[in-house]
């Protein structure tokens, strides 16, 4: 079991969700986060250029069984890129091993609980 964590642009959320649903990945957790990566954006505020320290992003957490890792990653890669080459700030995907997964309702554990 793996935990796939993707940090993406806010504006790509709709596209990423649609791609995931098309790949039949529907069990996800989405949160608003702020962070700083390579991206430097300039915003205008009252006619002044400012560079925010922390940029709002969307974080998606998906717990999957091994067989679905590539499908999920492909779907995110395809949909989170802002054009064919991609731009700085499109985000990252982290994959971490997932030790255990427990469904609270039934108490069942492991692969079948995902």
């Amino acid at each position: 079991m793996k935990l796939i964590t993707a940090i993406i642009r806010e504006v790509q959320l709709d596209k990423v969700r649609e791609a995931l649903i098309a790949a039949e990945i529907t069990r996800i957790t989405v949160s608003r986060v702020s962070g700083h990566g390579q991206q430097r954006i300039e915003e205008m505020y009252r006619g002044q250029r400012i560079v925010p320290d922390l940029i709002p992003k969307i974080k998606i957490d998906i717990a999957v069984n091994e067989a679905f890792v590539d499908i999920t990653v492909d779907a995110i890669l395809k949909s989170a890129r802002t054009n064919s080459e991609g731009n700085v700030g499109d985000g990252k995907i982290f994959i971490t091993p997932l030790e255990e997964c427990i469904r609270i309702r039934t108490g069942e554990r492991g692969k079948s609980a995902i």
Partner: protein
């Protein structure tokens, strides 16, 4: 002795000042009571526009909240300017071009009414600014039908053109003393504060644009939920408060008819709100806040044309009828699947038609007697119903046809519908470069 003399002079001076204050340059006396109420009403109707902005703003997704609020606010800018330049003249000038709209070169830039006082005893500036607020809120109402999916620049041109080509002619027909609907039948088509001019025209036009632009991306499969019901409720409350200016101010006086309109307004709003949550409770099991707010609006919209002619029981009936019909209209919309996003047609169009037609059955006796006298003896409810129905049909056909021509032509010049990317990113980011709820994220 000297002191006494001084006092006499002082008293005379005060008298002179007072008297000169009461008479305007053209000699008509100013009724300070009526003027004070009309000034208040003008401010109250303006308050409805931030109210509408909040009502609509809370109902869209968080990425569109500022864009939606701006649809109302920018109308305050654009329509005010247009109103001063040509709007007042087109609405309240003398018939030209066969009565399509009015014109009076004195009203151009309002330059000729600096000292003018109306027969009602209020300065013409006050009347003009009061009417200006109606012209502002009407196009802002339409925006609810096509929320979350239009280009800001195209929207600005749309409301400017719509105001000139739909609102001003309709307003002239219904409210100018030589407008043809004002003179129809025994005592004219009844539209006290804008059922046909404001609500039917806005609702129908909204429906036409919503159908033309098609549904939002993902509608109806993707759930599109309100971002903040709290500001929606605050907005609905402000609309209710502002509506006292809208209806009671439309008496253009401060007297009995004002009090009648004020009472009808309160009763209809309350009856509409209560009946909506009762219907909803039976139908879906819960009384929602949005249902209460929708009921307030349905009741207020329905009593708008009727406020001058119905008694409290009539207003109550209108509120109940309007809520029932608007509720059914929204259920029907969900079945048919067109995307009137915030139910501008479902509430303003349907409620406006319901009010304009059903008010006929609740008209107070004295009005009918006056109408009968004016018509030479007899004037029945059904006679008046015919007049009302004709006015409604004319308003619907004119608003729908003209709106279609405007968007069809405008769309050739500036794409009205947002691009797919802009729509997904949200209006706030795409057209305003801002975010409504930046404070929810540390930045």
């Amino acid at each position: 002795m000297k002191k006494k003399f001084k006092r006499v002079i002082l008293v005379l001076l005060f008298l002179f000042v007072n008297v000169s204050g009461l008479f305007a340059a053209d000699g008509k006396p100013i009724d300070s009571g009526a003027t004070a109420w009309m000034l208040t009403s003008t401010a109250l109707v303006l308050l409805m526009i931030p109210g509408l902005a909040m009502f609509y703003g809370g109902l869209v997704r968080s990425k569109n909240v500022l864009g939606t609020i701006m649809h109302s606010y920018v109308a305050m800018g654009i329509i005010s300017i247009l109103w001063v330049i040509v709007g007042y003249s087109m609405c309240f000038g003398k018939n030209i071009l066969g009565g399509w709209f009015g014109w009076n070169s004195n009203y151009f830039f309002l330059k000729g009414i600096d000292n003018s006082v109306l027969d009602a005893g209020i300065p013409e500036y006050v009347f003009s600014m009061f009417q200006c607020k109606f012209a502002i809120i009407t196009p802002a109402l339409i925006a609810g039908a096509f929320a979350e999916r239009v280009n800001f620049k195209a929207y600005c041109f749309f409301i400017a053109l719509w105001s000139l080509l739909v609102y001003n002619p309709l307003c002239h027909w219904v409210w100018a003393s030589d407008g043809f609907l004002f003179k129809m039948g025994a005592k004219g088509a009844i539209d006290f504060a804008g059922g046909t001019v404001v609500h039917i025209s806005a609702g129908v036009s909204g429906l036409v644009v919503a159908l033309y632009l098609r549904a939002r991306r993902g509608y109806p499969y993707q759930v599109i939920r309100p971002n903040n019901m709290v500001i929606t409720m605050l907005g609905a409350g402000l609309l209710w408060v502002g509506w006292f200016g809208f209806n009671a101010g439309s008496s253009i006086s401060s007297g009995l008819s004002t009090a009648q309109a004020l009472t009808a307004t309160q009763v209809a709003a309350a009856a509409g709100a209560l009946s909506w949550i009762i219907i909803e409770s039976f139908h879906q099991g819960k009384a929602t806040a949005l249902g209460f707010a929708s009921g307030i609006l349905a009741g207020l919209v329905a009593v708008t044309p009727a406020a001058g002619v119905v008694q409290p029981w009539g207003a109550m009936s209108l509120g109940i009828i309007a809520s029932l019909l608007c509720y059914m209209a929204i259920q029907l919309k969900n079945k048919l699947g067109y995307d009137d996003s915030l139910d501008a047609f479902g509430i303003h169009g349907v409620g406006g038609v319901a009010g304009a037609l059903f008010l006929t059955f609740f008209i107070r006796k004295s009005w009918m007697q006056e109408a009968a006298a004016a018509h030479g003896g007899s004037w029945t409810v059904w006679n008046q119903f015919g007049v009302q129905a004709l006015a409604v049909v004319i308003a619907i056909l004119f608003a729908a046809g003209m709106t279609f021509i405007i968007i069809y032509l405008l769309d050739k010049v500036i794409k009205f519908r947002s691009t797919e990317d802009d729509e997904m990113a949200g209006l706030d980011r795409s057209y305003h470069g801002e975010r409504g709820y930046g404070m929810l994220n540390p930045s």
